[in-house]
Amino acid sequence: MIEYPDDDVIGKGSRRHAIPETVLVRDLVRVVEVMNLERQGFFGKESVLAGSMALRCFKSPRFTVYDADFSTTENAARRPEEMRRMLAYEDDDLVIAPDPLTPHDAHGTAWKSEPIRFDPVFTSLVPNRDDRSFKADISFRGLVCEGIECELLVPYEMGLWSRPPTVWIMNPHEVVAEKVLGWCVNRLVKHYADLAFIGVASNPSGRPRLIELDGMKLREALANKLEAMRGLQPARYAAFGSVDDLVDDLDRAANLNQAQWQAIVYLREHRDRFKPDLLEGAVREILVPMLRAPGRA
Protein backbone atom coordinates (compact mmCIF):
# COMPACT_ATOMS: atom_id res chain seq x y z
CA MET A 1 0.00 0.00 0.00
CA ILE A 2 2.79 2.40 0.97
CA GLU A 3 6.54 2.08 1.32
CA TYR A 4 6.63 1.57 5.07
CA PRO A 5 9.42 3.68 6.58
CA ASP A 6 11.92 2.08 8.94
CA ASP A 7 12.43 3.13 12.55
CA ASP A 8 15.27 5.45 11.73
CA VAL A 9 13.19 7.41 9.23
CA ILE A 10 10.24 7.54 11.64
CA GLY A 11 12.53 8.70 14.44
CA LYS A 12 13.95 11.49 12.30
CA GLY A 13 10.46 12.58 11.21
CA SER A 14 9.32 12.54 14.80
CA ARG A 15 12.13 14.80 15.93
CA ARG A 16 11.84 17.13 12.97
CA HIS A 17 8.14 17.78 13.50
CA ALA A 18 8.13 17.38 17.30
CA ILE A 19 5.57 14.58 17.11
CA PRO A 20 6.00 11.48 19.28
CA GLU A 21 6.90 8.36 17.30
CA THR A 22 3.81 6.50 18.45
CA VAL A 23 1.66 9.33 17.13
CA LEU A 24 3.48 9.45 13.82
CA VAL A 25 3.04 5.71 13.33
CA ARG A 26 -0.67 6.02 14.09
CA ASP A 27 -0.89 8.73 11.45
CA LEU A 28 0.80 6.47 8.89
CA VAL A 29 -1.72 3.76 9.70
CA ARG A 30 -4.57 6.22 9.14
CA VAL A 31 -3.07 7.03 5.75
CA VAL A 32 -3.01 3.32 4.88
CA GLU A 33 -6.63 3.09 6.01
CA VAL A 34 -7.63 5.88 3.65
CA MET A 35 -5.79 4.20 0.78
CA ASN A 36 -7.42 0.89 1.70
CA LEU A 37 -10.86 2.47 1.40
CA GLU A 38 -9.87 4.19 -1.82
CA ARG A 39 -8.85 0.88 -3.40
CA GLN A 40 -12.20 -0.62 -2.49
CA GLY A 41 -14.04 2.18 -4.24
CA PHE A 42 -15.37 3.86 -1.12
CA PHE A 43 -14.61 7.40 -2.24
CA GLY A 44 -16.51 9.43 -4.78
CA LYS A 45 -18.48 12.65 -5.16
CA GLU A 46 -20.94 11.44 -2.54
CA SER A 47 -18.51 9.68 -0.22
CA VAL A 48 -15.53 11.66 0.99
CA LEU A 49 -12.63 11.95 3.38
CA ALA A 50 -13.42 14.73 5.86
CA GLY A 51 -11.89 16.36 8.91
CA SER A 52 -8.28 17.33 9.38
CA MET A 53 -6.92 14.62 7.08
CA ALA A 54 -8.88 16.21 4.24
CA LEU A 55 -7.63 19.68 5.14
CA ARG A 56 -4.08 18.37 4.98
CA CYS A 57 -4.62 17.89 1.26
CA PHE A 58 -4.58 21.71 1.15
CA LYS A 59 -1.37 21.75 3.20
CA SER A 60 -3.02 22.54 6.52
CA PRO A 61 -0.27 22.55 9.15
CA ARG A 62 -2.51 21.45 12.03
CA PHE A 63 -1.75 17.96 13.21
CA THR A 64 -4.33 15.70 14.78
CA VAL A 65 -3.77 12.16 15.66
CA TYR A 66 -6.62 10.02 16.70
CA ASP A 67 -9.61 9.94 14.41
CA ALA A 68 -10.27 9.52 10.71
CA ASP A 69 -13.45 11.20 9.48
CA PHE A 70 -15.56 10.14 6.53
CA SER A 71 -18.80 11.61 5.28
CA THR A 72 -21.33 10.39 2.76
CA THR A 73 -24.70 11.27 1.34
CA GLU A 74 -27.69 9.23 2.44
CA ASN A 75 -27.62 7.45 -0.93
CA ALA A 76 -24.02 6.40 -0.51
CA ALA A 77 -24.46 5.25 3.10
CA ARG A 78 -23.26 1.72 3.75
CA ARG A 79 -24.49 -0.74 6.27
CA PRO A 80 -22.36 -0.78 9.44
CA GLU A 81 -21.20 -4.37 8.93
CA GLU A 82 -20.20 -3.63 5.33
CA MET A 83 -18.33 -0.55 6.49
CA ARG A 84 -16.50 -2.54 9.12
CA ARG A 85 -15.43 -5.07 6.50
CA MET A 86 -14.12 -2.26 4.32
CA LEU A 87 -12.16 -0.73 7.19
CA ALA A 88 -10.38 -4.03 7.89
CA TYR A 89 -6.99 -4.38 6.22
CA GLU A 90 -3.99 -6.67 6.24
CA ASP A 91 -0.66 -6.90 4.49
CA ASP A 92 2.73 -8.31 5.51
CA ASP A 93 3.60 -5.21 7.52
CA LEU A 94 0.33 -4.07 9.00
CA VAL A 95 -2.96 -5.44 10.27
CA ILE A 96 -5.95 -3.15 10.87
CA ALA A 97 -8.84 -4.65 12.81
CA PRO A 98 -11.87 -2.40 13.41
CA ASP A 99 -14.40 -2.86 16.17
CA PRO A 100 -18.06 -3.05 15.13
CA LEU A 101 -19.59 0.29 14.28
CA THR A 102 -21.83 1.86 16.89
CA PRO A 103 -24.30 4.74 16.46
CA HIS A 104 -22.87 8.13 17.29
CA ASP A 105 -26.21 9.87 17.73
CA ALA A 106 -29.84 9.09 18.44
CA HIS A 107 -30.82 9.49 14.80
CA GLY A 108 -28.39 6.87 13.52
CA THR A 109 -26.95 9.36 11.04
CA ALA A 110 -23.40 9.04 12.33
CA TRP A 111 -21.48 5.95 13.32
CA LYS A 112 -18.08 5.25 14.74
CA SER A 113 -15.71 2.35 15.00
CA GLU A 114 -13.66 2.60 18.17
CA PRO A 115 -11.17 1.27 18.72
CA ILE A 116 -9.73 0.29 15.40
CA ARG A 117 -6.75 -1.70 16.55
CA PHE A 118 -3.65 -2.11 14.44
CA ASP A 119 -0.51 -4.14 14.57
CA PRO A 120 2.34 -2.25 12.88
CA VAL A 121 4.81 -5.02 12.20
CA PHE A 122 6.93 -2.59 10.18
CA THR A 123 8.14 -0.78 13.28
CA SER A 124 9.26 -1.51 16.81
CA LEU A 125 8.41 1.97 17.99
CA VAL A 126 4.90 1.25 19.24
CA PRO A 127 5.42 -1.46 21.84
CA ASN A 128 2.33 -0.66 23.91
CA ARG A 129 -1.02 -2.03 22.89
CA ASP A 130 -2.73 1.12 24.18
CA ASP A 131 -0.94 3.17 21.55
CA ARG A 132 -2.05 0.91 18.72
CA SER A 133 -5.54 2.14 18.00
CA PHE A 134 -7.45 4.93 16.33
CA LYS A 135 -11.07 5.77 15.63
CA ALA A 136 -13.14 6.19 12.48
CA ASP A 137 -16.17 8.48 12.41
CA ILE A 138 -18.55 7.97 9.52
CA SER A 139 -21.31 10.50 9.03
CA PHE A 140 -24.27 9.69 6.84
CA ARG A 141 -25.86 13.08 7.52
CA GLY A 142 -25.55 14.03 3.90
CA LEU A 143 -23.23 16.23 1.94
CA VAL A 144 -24.35 19.66 0.84
CA CYS A 145 -21.63 19.96 -1.84
CA GLU A 146 -20.12 17.34 -4.11
CA GLY A 147 -16.70 16.16 -3.01
CA ILE A 148 -13.59 17.06 -4.93
CA GLU A 149 -10.80 14.78 -6.07
CA CYS A 150 -7.26 15.61 -5.08
CA GLU A 151 -3.94 14.13 -4.06
CA LEU A 152 -3.68 12.70 -0.56
CA LEU A 153 -0.90 14.68 1.05
CA VAL A 154 0.99 14.03 4.25
CA PRO A 155 2.95 16.75 6.01
CA TYR A 156 6.26 14.88 6.12
CA GLU A 157 8.80 13.42 3.74
CA MET A 158 9.13 9.71 4.34
CA GLY A 159 9.17 8.32 0.85
CA LEU A 160 5.78 6.67 1.31
CA TRP A 161 5.06 6.69 -2.41
CA SER A 162 6.51 7.83 -5.69
CA ARG A 163 3.33 9.70 -6.46
CA PRO A 164 0.57 10.53 -3.96
CA PRO A 165 -2.68 8.61 -4.47
CA THR A 166 -5.83 10.57 -5.25
CA VAL A 167 -8.90 10.53 -3.05
CA TRP A 168 -12.20 12.35 -2.86
CA ILE A 169 -12.31 14.83 -0.04
CA MET A 170 -14.97 17.09 1.40
CA ASN A 171 -15.53 20.21 -0.68
CA PRO A 172 -13.83 23.15 1.07
CA HIS A 173 -17.08 25.14 0.97
CA GLU A 174 -18.67 22.41 3.05
CA VAL A 175 -15.63 22.23 5.32
CA VAL A 176 -16.06 25.95 6.03
CA ALA A 177 -19.76 25.37 6.81
CA GLU A 178 -18.94 22.55 9.24
CA LYS A 179 -16.21 24.54 10.92
CA VAL A 180 -18.37 27.66 11.27
CA LEU A 181 -21.05 25.58 13.01
CA GLY A 182 -18.40 23.86 15.13
CA TRP A 183 -17.05 27.18 16.33
CA CYS A 184 -20.33 29.04 16.77
CA VAL A 185 -22.14 26.20 18.52
CA ASN A 186 -19.40 24.32 20.36
CA ARG A 187 -16.70 26.96 20.72
CA LEU A 188 -13.92 24.53 19.89
CA VAL A 189 -10.74 26.38 19.08
CA LYS A 190 -9.62 23.71 16.61
CA HIS A 191 -12.50 24.72 14.34
CA TYR A 192 -11.54 28.38 14.56
CA ALA A 193 -7.93 27.46 13.78
CA ASP A 194 -9.03 25.50 10.71
CA LEU A 195 -11.24 28.36 9.54
CA ALA A 196 -8.26 30.67 9.88
CA PHE A 197 -6.10 28.32 7.84
CA ILE A 198 -8.76 28.20 5.11
CA GLY A 199 -8.93 31.99 5.22
CA VAL A 200 -5.18 32.24 4.73
CA ALA A 201 -5.13 29.57 2.03
CA SER A 202 -8.01 31.15 0.11
CA ASN A 203 -6.89 34.76 0.41
CA PRO A 204 -7.37 36.24 -3.06
CA SER A 205 -4.18 38.25 -2.65
CA GLY A 206 -2.22 35.30 -1.26
CA ARG A 207 0.42 33.42 -3.22
CA PRO A 208 0.10 30.57 -3.78
CA ARG A 209 -3.66 30.41 -3.43
CA LEU A 210 -4.28 26.89 -2.19
CA ILE A 211 -8.08 26.94 -1.91
CA GLU A 212 -10.57 28.57 -4.27
CA LEU A 213 -13.74 29.73 -2.51
CA ASP A 214 -16.85 31.35 -3.89
CA GLY A 215 -18.84 33.60 -1.53
CA MET A 216 -22.27 32.66 -2.87
CA LYS A 217 -21.46 28.97 -2.68
CA LEU A 218 -20.15 29.40 0.84
CA ARG A 219 -23.42 30.98 2.02
CA GLU A 220 -25.44 28.31 0.26
CA ALA A 221 -23.42 25.50 1.87
CA LEU A 222 -23.70 27.13 5.28
CA ALA A 223 -27.45 27.64 4.91
CA ASN A 224 -27.98 24.02 3.89
CA LYS A 225 -25.78 22.70 6.67
CA LEU A 226 -27.50 24.88 9.25
CA GLU A 227 -30.92 23.72 8.10
CA ALA A 228 -29.85 20.08 8.30
CA MET A 229 -28.40 20.45 11.78
CA ARG A 230 -31.36 22.46 13.07
CA GLY A 231 -33.49 19.53 11.97
CA LEU A 232 -31.31 17.02 13.78
CA GLN A 233 -30.49 19.01 16.94
CA PRO A 234 -32.95 21.90 17.22
CA ALA A 235 -32.12 22.85 20.81
CA ARG A 236 -28.42 23.05 20.18
CA TYR A 237 -28.82 25.27 17.13
CA ALA A 238 -31.69 27.39 18.44
CA ALA A 239 -29.57 30.52 18.80
CA PHE A 240 -28.82 30.54 15.08
CA GLY A 241 -31.85 31.11 12.89
CA SER A 242 -29.99 32.18 9.78
CA VAL A 243 -26.63 32.32 8.09
CA ASP A 244 -26.33 35.97 9.10
CA ASP A 245 -26.61 35.03 12.77
CA LEU A 246 -23.63 32.72 12.30
CA VAL A 247 -21.60 35.25 10.35
CA ASP A 248 -22.27 37.94 12.95
CA ASP A 249 -21.07 35.57 15.63
CA LEU A 250 -17.98 34.65 13.64
CA ASP A 251 -17.18 38.33 13.26
CA ARG A 252 -16.97 38.86 17.01
CA ALA A 253 -13.63 38.81 18.84
CA ALA A 254 -12.68 35.17 19.39
CA ASN A 255 -10.96 35.75 22.75
CA LEU A 256 -8.69 32.76 22.29
CA ASN A 257 -7.00 32.20 25.60
CA GLN A 258 -3.42 31.07 25.91
CA ALA A 259 -4.17 27.58 27.17
CA GLN A 260 -6.67 26.87 24.40
CA TRP A 261 -4.21 28.15 21.88
CA GLN A 262 -1.43 25.93 23.16
CA ALA A 263 -3.64 22.87 22.84
CA ILE A 264 -3.67 23.34 19.06
CA VAL A 265 -0.86 21.30 17.58
CA TYR A 266 0.89 22.70 14.54
CA LEU A 267 3.82 21.12 12.83
CA ARG A 268 6.95 22.62 14.27
CA GLU A 269 7.94 24.76 11.27
CA HIS A 270 4.51 26.45 11.19
CA ARG A 271 4.15 27.02 14.91
CA ASP A 272 5.62 30.53 14.85
CA ARG A 273 3.45 31.64 11.96
CA PHE A 274 0.01 30.56 13.15
CA LYS A 275 -0.54 32.83 16.14
CA PRO A 276 -3.86 33.98 17.63
CA ASP A 277 -3.62 37.40 15.95
CA LEU A 278 -3.12 35.84 12.53
CA LEU A 279 -6.01 33.44 13.12
CA GLU A 280 -8.43 36.13 14.12
CA GLY A 281 -7.38 38.39 11.24
CA ALA A 282 -7.80 35.56 8.72
CA VAL A 283 -11.28 34.73 9.95
CA ARG A 284 -12.62 38.26 10.38
CA GLU A 285 -10.91 39.95 7.46
CA ILE A 286 -10.93 37.23 4.80
CA LEU A 287 -13.63 34.66 5.53
CA VAL A 288 -16.29 36.85 7.10
CA PRO A 289 -16.44 39.29 4.14
CA MET A 290 -16.79 36.29 1.79
CA LEU A 291 -19.64 34.93 3.91
CA ARG A 292 -21.51 38.22 4.18
CA ALA A 293 -24.60 38.63 2.03
CA PRO A 294 -23.90 40.90 -0.94
CA GLY A 295 -24.53 44.51 0.04
CA ARG A 296 -24.36 43.83 3.79
CA ALA A 297 -21.22 45.17 5.48
Binding site: S14, E21, V185, Q258, A259, A263
Partner: protein
Protein backbone atom coordinates in the same frame (compact mmCIF):
# COMPACT_ATOMS: atom_id res chain seq x y z
CA UNK B 1 27.92 6.35 25.01
CA UNK B 2 26.04 9.50 25.93
CA UNK B 3 27.52 11.33 22.95
CA UNK B 4 26.45 8.51 20.65
CA UNK B 5 22.90 8.73 21.96
CA UNK B 6 23.05 5.42 23.77
CA UNK B 7 23.12 6.52 27.42
CA UNK B 8 20.46 8.70 28.98
CA UNK B 9 20.09 9.98 32.50
CA UNK B 10 16.55 9.43 33.74
CA UNK B 11 16.93 10.21 37.46
CA UNK B 12 19.42 10.47 40.23
CA UNK B 13 21.96 7.69 39.65
CA UNK B 14 19.63 6.10 37.14
CA UNK B 15 20.49 5.68 33.50
CA UNK B 16 18.99 3.96 30.48
CA UNK B 17 21.29 2.21 28.06
CA UNK B 18 19.60 2.31 24.67
CA UNK B 19 19.77 -0.45 22.05
CA UNK B 20 22.46 0.16 19.45
CA UNK B 21 19.89 0.96 16.75
CA UNK B 22 18.11 3.59 18.86
CA UNK B 23 18.63 7.23 18.03
CA UNK B 24 16.56 8.82 20.80
CA UNK B 25 15.56 8.11 24.37
CA UNK B 26 11.97 7.53 23.30
CA UNK B 27 13.18 4.57 21.23
CA UNK B 28 14.90 3.03 24.22
CA UNK B 29 11.96 2.67 26.59
CA UNK B 30 8.29 3.70 26.92
CA UNK B 31 7.85 7.09 28.60
CA UNK B 32 5.92 5.54 31.49
CA UNK B 33 8.87 3.33 32.34
CA UNK B 34 11.23 6.30 32.17
CA UNK B 35 8.99 8.23 34.54
CA UNK B 36 8.91 5.31 36.92
CA UNK B 37 12.70 5.13 36.85
CA UNK B 38 12.95 8.86 37.45
CA UNK B 39 10.38 9.15 40.22
CA UNK B 40 9.81 5.63 41.48
CA UNK B 41 11.93 5.96 44.62
CA UNK B 42 9.11 8.07 46.09
CA UNK B 43 5.32 8.01 45.77
CA UNK B 44 4.31 9.44 42.41
CA UNK B 45 1.68 9.04 39.77
CA UNK B 46 1.44 9.86 36.09
CA UNK B 47 -1.50 12.20 35.76
CA UNK B 48 -3.07 15.32 34.31
CA UNK B 49 -2.81 15.55 30.50
CA UNK B 50 -0.85 12.27 30.34
CA UNK B 51 -3.70 10.52 32.16
CA UNK B 52 -6.41 12.16 30.05
CA UNK B 53 -4.58 10.89 26.96
CA UNK B 54 -4.09 7.41 28.42
CA UNK B 55 -7.77 7.15 29.41
CA UNK B 56 -8.82 8.36 25.93
CA UNK B 57 -10.51 11.41 27.38
CA UNK B 58 -8.78 13.65 24.85
CA UNK B 59 -7.43 13.24 21.35
CA UNK B 60 -4.49 15.51 22.04
CA UNK B 61 -0.98 14.22 22.25
CA UNK B 62 1.91 15.70 24.13
CA UNK B 63 5.65 15.66 23.70
CA UNK B 64 6.05 15.95 27.47
CA UNK B 65 4.61 13.87 30.32
CA UNK B 66 3.02 15.10 33.54
CA UNK B 67 3.15 13.53 36.98
CA UNK B 68 2.51 14.33 40.62
CA UNK B 69 4.64 13.79 43.70
CA UNK B 70 3.97 14.64 47.37
CA UNK B 71 4.80 18.22 48.31
CA UNK B 72 7.82 17.23 50.38
CA UNK B 73 9.45 15.26 47.56
CA UNK B 74 11.91 17.06 45.34
CA UNK B 75 13.17 14.87 42.50
CA UNK B 76 16.86 15.60 42.27
CA UNK B 77 19.09 15.97 39.28
CA UNK B 78 18.37 16.63 35.64
CA UNK B 79 16.72 13.96 33.56
CA UNK B 80 16.49 13.43 29.83
CA UNK B 81 12.69 13.19 30.06
CA UNK B 82 10.41 16.14 29.30
CA UNK B 83 8.41 15.98 32.50
CA UNK B 84 6.04 18.42 34.19
CA UNK B 85 5.70 17.73 37.89
CA UNK B 86 3.01 18.90 40.30
CA UNK B 87 3.67 18.78 44.03
CA UNK B 88 0.52 17.92 45.93
CA UNK B 89 -0.26 18.56 49.58
CA UNK B 90 -1.04 15.56 51.81
CA UNK B 91 -4.74 16.52 51.64
CA UNK B 92 -4.71 16.53 47.84
CA UNK B 93 -2.77 13.29 47.52
CA UNK B 94 -5.01 10.56 46.04
CA UNK B 95 -6.53 7.75 48.08
CA UNK B 96 -5.06 4.36 47.13
CA UNK B 97 -8.01 3.46 44.91
CA UNK B 98 -7.58 6.66 42.92
CA UNK B 99 -4.29 5.42 41.51
CA UNK B 100 -3.87 2.39 39.29
CA UNK B 101 -0.78 0.29 38.81
CA UNK B 102 -0.35 -0.74 35.22
CA UNK B 103 2.12 -2.70 33.17
CA UNK B 104 4.18 -0.35 31.02
CA UNK B 105 5.22 -2.91 28.45
CA UNK B 106 3.52 -6.11 27.40
CA UNK B 107 5.37 -9.22 28.45
CA UNK B 108 7.50 -7.51 31.08
CA UNK B 109 7.27 -7.07 34.82
CA UNK B 110 7.73 -3.33 34.66
CA UNK B 111 4.91 -1.31 36.19
CA UNK B 112 4.09 2.35 36.71
CA UNK B 113 1.42 4.30 38.58
CA UNK B 114 -1.24 6.42 36.96
CA UNK B 115 -4.34 8.25 38.13
CA UNK B 116 -7.54 6.28 37.68
CA UNK B 117 -10.00 7.75 35.20
CA UNK B 118 -12.08 9.36 37.97
CA UNK B 119 -9.08 10.99 39.59
CA UNK B 120 -7.84 12.16 36.19
CA UNK B 121 -11.11 14.06 35.73
CA UNK B 122 -10.83 15.69 39.15
CA UNK B 123 -7.16 16.54 38.62
CA UNK B 124 -8.26 18.49 35.57
CA UNK B 125 -10.20 20.82 37.88
CA UNK B 126 -7.29 20.95 40.32
CA UNK B 127 -4.61 21.77 37.74
CA UNK B 128 -6.09 22.73 34.36
CA UNK B 129 -2.74 24.31 33.53
CA UNK B 130 -1.26 20.80 33.40
CA UNK B 131 -4.11 19.51 31.24
CA UNK B 132 -3.74 21.78 28.19
CA UNK B 133 -6.29 24.20 29.61
CA UNK B 134 -9.89 24.24 30.66
CA UNK B 135 -11.35 23.47 27.22
CA UNK B 136 -9.52 20.15 27.25
CA UNK B 137 -10.73 19.47 30.80
CA UNK B 138 -14.40 20.17 30.03
CA UNK B 139 -14.25 18.18 26.80
CA UNK B 140 -12.88 15.29 28.84
CA UNK B 141 -15.76 15.55 31.33
CA UNK B 142 -18.22 15.66 28.42
CA UNK B 143 -16.65 12.58 26.87
CA UNK B 144 -16.60 10.76 30.20
CA UNK B 145 -20.31 11.50 30.56
CA UNK B 146 -21.00 8.99 27.79
CA UNK B 147 -18.79 6.26 29.19
CA UNK B 148 -20.03 3.38 31.26
CA UNK B 149 -16.65 2.73 32.90
CA UNK B 150 -16.61 6.00 34.85
CA UNK B 151 -17.96 5.94 38.42
CA UNK B 152 -19.35 9.38 39.19
CA UNK B 153 -19.60 8.50 42.86
CA UNK B 154 -15.85 7.98 42.86
CA UNK B 155 -15.37 11.27 41.02
CA UNK B 156 -17.35 13.02 43.76
CA UNK B 157 -15.42 11.25 46.51
CA UNK B 158 -12.07 12.14 44.94
CA UNK B 159 -13.08 15.78 44.68
CA UNK B 160 -14.31 15.92 48.29
CA UNK B 161 -11.07 14.34 49.42
CA UNK B 162 -9.02 17.16 47.93
CA UNK B 163 -10.87 20.03 49.52
CA UNK B 164 -13.72 22.49 49.45
CA UNK B 165 -12.81 24.38 46.27
CA UNK B 166 -12.31 21.22 44.19
CA UNK B 167 -15.53 19.78 45.62
CA UNK B 168 -17.45 22.88 44.51
CA UNK B 169 -15.92 22.76 41.05
CA UNK B 170 -16.77 19.07 40.74
CA UNK B 171 -20.33 19.67 41.96
CA UNK B 172 -20.77 22.36 39.34
CA UNK B 173 -19.37 20.12 36.59
CA UNK B 174 -21.58 17.22 37.63
CA UNK B 175 -24.57 19.56 37.42
CA UNK B 176 -23.46 20.63 33.96
CA UNK B 177 -23.54 16.97 32.95
CA UNK B 178 -27.07 16.69 34.43
CA UNK B 179 -25.88 14.20 37.05
CA UNK B 180 -28.22 15.65 39.66
CA UNK B 181 -28.48 12.45 41.68
CA UNK B 182 -24.73 12.40 42.24
CA UNK B 183 -24.73 16.08 43.20
CA UNK B 184 -27.50 15.50 45.73
CA UNK B 185 -25.83 12.41 47.15
CA UNK B 186 -22.41 13.96 47.70
CA UNK B 187 -22.78 17.72 47.74
CA UNK B 188 -26.12 18.45 49.34
CA UNK B 189 -24.36 20.24 52.19
CA UNK B 190 -22.60 22.79 49.99
CA UNK B 191 -23.76 26.33 50.63
CA UNK B 192 -23.40 28.56 47.63
CA UNK B 193 -23.31 31.73 49.69
CA UNK B 194 -20.29 30.54 51.63
CA UNK B 195 -17.86 30.62 48.74
CA UNK B 196 -16.50 32.49 45.75
CA UNK B 197 -14.54 29.81 43.94
CA UNK B 198 -13.47 30.44 40.34
CA UNK B 199 -14.36 27.50 38.11
CA UNK B 200 -11.19 27.68 36.01
CA UNK B 201 -8.19 28.00 38.29
CA UNK B 202 -6.01 28.93 35.35
CA UNK B 203 -8.38 31.84 34.59
CA UNK B 204 -7.75 31.40 30.90
CA UNK B 205 -10.44 33.84 29.77
CA UNK B 206 -9.49 36.62 32.16
CA UNK B 207 -13.07 37.92 32.12
CA UNK B 208 -14.03 41.26 33.56
CA UNK B 209 -15.59 40.96 37.02
CA UNK B 210 -18.90 42.26 35.65
CA UNK B 211 -19.02 39.38 33.14
CA UNK B 212 -18.59 36.69 35.78
CA UNK B 213 -21.79 34.95 36.80
CA UNK B 214 -22.08 33.21 40.17
CA UNK B 215 -23.65 29.77 40.49
CA UNK B 216 -25.96 30.07 43.50
CA UNK B 217 -25.89 26.39 44.41
CA UNK B 218 -22.14 25.81 44.50
CA UNK B 219 -20.77 29.31 44.93
CA UNK B 220 -18.74 28.81 41.77
CA UNK B 221 -17.73 31.95 39.89
CA UNK B 222 -18.15 31.26 36.20
CA UNK B 223 -14.95 32.76 34.84
CA UNK B 224 -15.57 30.78 31.63
CA UNK B 225 -18.47 31.88 29.40
CA UNK B 226 -21.43 29.58 30.02
CA UNK B 227 -21.92 29.20 26.29
CA UNK B 228 -18.41 27.81 25.95
CA UNK B 229 -19.02 25.35 28.76
CA UNK B 230 -22.22 24.08 27.20
CA UNK B 231 -20.62 23.77 23.77
CA UNK B 232 -17.60 21.91 25.11
CA UNK B 233 -19.69 19.45 27.10
CA UNK B 234 -21.82 18.70 24.03
CA UNK B 235 -18.77 18.37 21.81
CA UNK B 236 -17.14 16.05 24.33
CA UNK B 237 -20.23 13.87 24.38
CA UNK B 238 -20.18 13.76 20.56
CA UNK B 239 -16.56 12.65 20.38
Amino acid sequence: MAQRGLLYRVGQDRYVVAPIEASALSQAAPPELLIDLALGSHPYYIGFLSALIAHRLTDLHSASASAAVPADVRPRGRTSIALKIARLSPRAWPAPDEIERFRVLEGTKEFAHRSAVERALVDGLLRPDLCAGFETVVLAWGRAGRRADVSWDRVAQAARGIGDATARRAAFMLGLLSLETIVERHFADLEGRAANTPLDRSNGFNLDRSEIERDPRTGILLNVPRRHLRGWVEAGADA
